[in-house]
């Protein structure tokens, strides 16, 4: 080992030292990029600073201007908070789709579970069952139902959702490609339906000496959902982050997004991130180089899902209510479009994608709808055709910029015209078809434990 590896000390002190170093490194990096491409860095900085002060500007001045002087399609607090919620989800889905290359069409299920965890842990819902527990919340002691503080709720949501991610992943991650997508699709349909229908549960189970009997218990609030849910609350400062708190909720969203970004980036540039990349590039070769592919994919699933849990519990707490209607299949697709549009694999790209699409969904189309309604000619309301608009945007993007707004360098290469296989042919490599006749697909008779090739190509490649 070299001196550089010994330079890193041990313990918490070293850890904080490293954090300080990275912050210092950010400063150095900033100055370097300022030197390298001044205009770009300055413009980006201005955009970020404007974005950070925009919520306050909007509250103090722009909302008033837009209301009384001239109507502009400016995002309001709710729209901005949803931008952050969807950005967190996009960053999470990007771990699954972008880093590990697994297509997840049921991501909304984890969002829903996160929201219901918040509903179960911070609402009067359980008062009907006589369960009352209050701890450090914004409601006084002795309140009806369970009221845990938001920060604890988020942590529980992360754990619960990651567990569900692993539970879904364990039996399905041996599947590749399309099959996995279909299973996740089913999961995404089942979970909201379960929440919708578990409003009167009657059950009696006898397991030896244990008898579980419930009669007509309202578990999930059914179609009405659960409300009111306690808003996010910062104890000691007594700050509420609900839908009436204006920019505060946006800043809480930015804070949660920042954590999500740090988590995603740290994972991306680490041992596990390299495993994901290797699996995406060539699963068989990764396996042969010692990557435990099933475990890595399971981790991608669980970690990606946990960010949806954060987004879900934040959304439910922020709105103060949750119903299963929030969690439709279209939401899964929406988040996927955000990831593809922004740039699969690039954390910053998917955030841009999420902000852009949420802006169109929550601000621009309703604004257009308002203008259309005000106009004397009867026109269709564009707000009702939001998915048509996404479809058109996606088509245009796929035609002119398939790699997304801010593409990942590596992903872009995978999409490029000359793939690796072509390069091999171009180099005049002899193609030995040794195994084609030996392992025809579907004729492997080694039983369920076999890990034979699934395609002719794969058999040939080995």
């Amino acid at each position: 080992m070299s001196a550089s590896s010994e330079a890193i000390g041990t313990g918490i002190g070293a850890w904080f030292g490293h954090i300080a170093d990275s912050l210092g490194g950010m400063g150095i990096g900033y100055r370097r990029s300022l030197r390298k491409s001044r205009t770009r860095t300055v413009i980006l900085s201005i955009i970020i600073v404007l974005g950070l002060i925009y919520p306050v500007l909007h509250q103090q001045f722009l909302a008033e201007f837009s209301r009384n002087v001239f109507p502009l399609p400016l995002p309001d607090d709710t729209a901005m908070t949803f931008m952050m919620i969807f950005a967190i989800m996009a960053v999470g889905l990007n771990i699954v789709v972008g880093f590990a290359g697994l297509l997840d069409l049921g991501y909304v299920a984890f969002y829903a579970i996160g929201a219901y965890v918040a509903a179960f842990l911070a609402s009067p819902h359980w008062a009907g069952l006589g369960i009352n527990l209050t701890f450090l919340g914004n409601v006084g002691p002795g309140a009806q139902g369970v009221h845990l503080p938001f920060w604890l709720v988020i942590i529980v949501a992360v754990i619960v959702v990651a567990t569900f991610g692993a539970l879904l992943g364990a039996p399905t991650l041996r599947l590749r490609g399309d099959y996995l997508a279909i299973v996740t699709l089913g999961f995404g349909e089942i979970v909201p339906l379960v929440f919708k229908n578990l409003s009167s549960l009657t059950l009696s189970l006898t397991l030896g000496p244990i008898v579980i009997a419930v009669n007509n218990v309202n578990l999930t609030g059914g179609v009405q959902g659960i409300n009111p849910i306690d808003p996010p609350f910062l104890p000691f400062f007594n700050i509420l982050f609900d839908s009436r708190s204006g920019p505060l909720a946006v800043y809480l969203g930015i804070f949660l997004l920042a954590i999500a970004v740090v988590v995603a980036r740290n994972l991306q540039f680490s041992r596990i991130g390299r495993s994901w990349m290797a699996i995406r590039e060539d699963e068989t070769a990764a396996q042969m180089m010692g990557v435990n592919t099933v475990r890595s994919k399971l981790l991608a699933f669980a970690l990606g899902a946990s960010l949806a849990g954060v987004a879900g519990s934040f959304q439910a707490s922020y709105l103060g209510a949750t119903t299963s209607d929030f969690f439709e299949f279209s939401t899964s697709i929406l988040v996927l479009i955000m990831v593809i549009l922004g740039g699969v694999g690039n954390v910053w790209g998917v955030i841009v994608g999420a902000i852009a699409l949420t802006y169109i969904d929550k601000t621009f189309l309703p604004y257009l709808g308002q203008r259309v309604q005000d106009s004397p000619i009867p026109l269709p309301n564009p707000a009702q055709y939001n998915f048509l608009v996404y479809g058109i945007i996606l088509l245009v993007m796929m035609r002119f910029r398939p790699q997304g707004f801010l593409p990942d360098r590596q992903r872009e290469a995978e999409l490029s015209v000359i793939g690796l296989a072509d390069a091999e042919v171009a180099m005049g490599m002899p193609i030995d078809v040794d195994n084609v006749s030996i392992a025809p697909p579907g004729q492997d008779e080694t039983g369920p434990g076999a890990r034979g090739p699934e395609t002719i190509d794969e058999a040939r490649d080995l």
Partner: protein, 300 residues
């Protein structure tokens, strides 16, 4: 110990008919202590549907030797490779590596270690058609190979704990050492797919070495190379054996390479061992000539 292998008098050639293939190991172990075998396989069979790709193969690899597996196309060489690495589960038979089982047979059911477990046991491999992670840097390709020896968890990565940072730095140092070994340290930031062909072959070996193998499986390492590149590669393989104490199992079609560097050669044809022994003996074996050139050539 390696000099023993090269001495023809101590490794008798066996031109066995399929019915007597099981006698090879007895003859072999008569000369070499079983404990010196790094890989031992007994009765290994692999069937794909009605086709028997590998049929009842007994095959041992002495520690520290360079052993070649040759045979005509479709003889089952790569299938055998894939069973050693755990990618295929044999239909029957047992393989042990370093006195630990890779596959075990019990109650008519064969179980096999998974590929990543086999890699962790100490078997590294390259592929017939290069299978690098093309859009990853040369350095990262090698770091993926080091993965099995890293102990930090995902939460270490999320929190950037000192343990993880120290480990990553050590991994980078080790990877750079390996790249220096294959003369690719100057190109560590290149994408693997942009490397010239010969460099890609060497990078694949560096990646396999990163798994810290005791046994290195090379599937046609000189395919598509010109004479001087081939010579460099054979010298390099010899160097790996002498400097790192590696045992090497080679699949190769270039007979000059095979005859040049092998201590022992095993010939497969239609999934069966038809000959085994030192290069000179195998070359003179009529069954081998028949398998490669046809009956007429063998009689001529």
């Amino acid at each position: 110990m390696t000099t023993d292998m090269t001495s023809p008098s101590e490794t008798p050639v066996t031109a066995a008919t399929p019915a007597t293939t099981s006698s090879i190991p007895t003859m072999l172990t008569g000369n070499i202590d079983p404990a010196m075998m790094l890989v031992r396989s007994r009765g290994v069979t692999k069937k794909f549907g009605g086709l028997t790709a590998v049929n009842n193969v007994d095959f041992d690899i002495p520690r520290g030797s360079i052993v070649s597996l040759i045979g005509p196309n479709g003889a089952g060489k790569t299938t055998f490779f894939n069973m050693i690495t755990g990618y295929y589960v044999p239909t029957a038979g047992e393989i042990t590596f370093d006195d630990r089982p890779i596959t075990t047979e019990s109650k008519k059911k064969v179980r096999s270690k998974k590929p990543h477990e086999v890699t962790a046991m100490g078997i590294g491999r390259t592929f017939q058609n290069i299978r690098l992670f093309g859009a990853m840097s040369v350095l990262d390709n090698v770091r993926v190979g080091l993965n099995v020896h890293l102990g930090s968890h995902w939460w270490d990565s999320v929190l950037r704990t000192p343990k993880m940072l120290r480990e990553e730095q050590a991994a980078i140092d080790e990877a750079m050492d390996l790249l220096r070994l294959v003369d690719l340290d100057k190109r560590s930031e290149w994408w693997a797919r942009n490397l010239p062909y010969g460099d890609q072959r060497r990078l694949e070996i560096a990646r396999a070495l990163a798994t810290r193998p005791k046994l290195l499986l090379l599937d046609e390492p000189t395919a598509g190379m010109n004479n001087s590149e081939t010579r460099e590669m054979t010298d390099f393989i010899r160097k790996l054996r002498s400097e790192r104490g590696l045992t090497v199992l080679l699949i190769e079609h270039d007979m000059r390479v095979v005859m040049d560097i092998s201590d022992r050669i095993t010939v497969l044809d239609y999934g069966q061992v038809i000959a085994e022994g030192a290069p000179a003996e195998v070359r003179a074996n009529p069954r081998v000539i028949e398998a490669y050139l046809g009956r007429g050539a063998a009689e001529a």
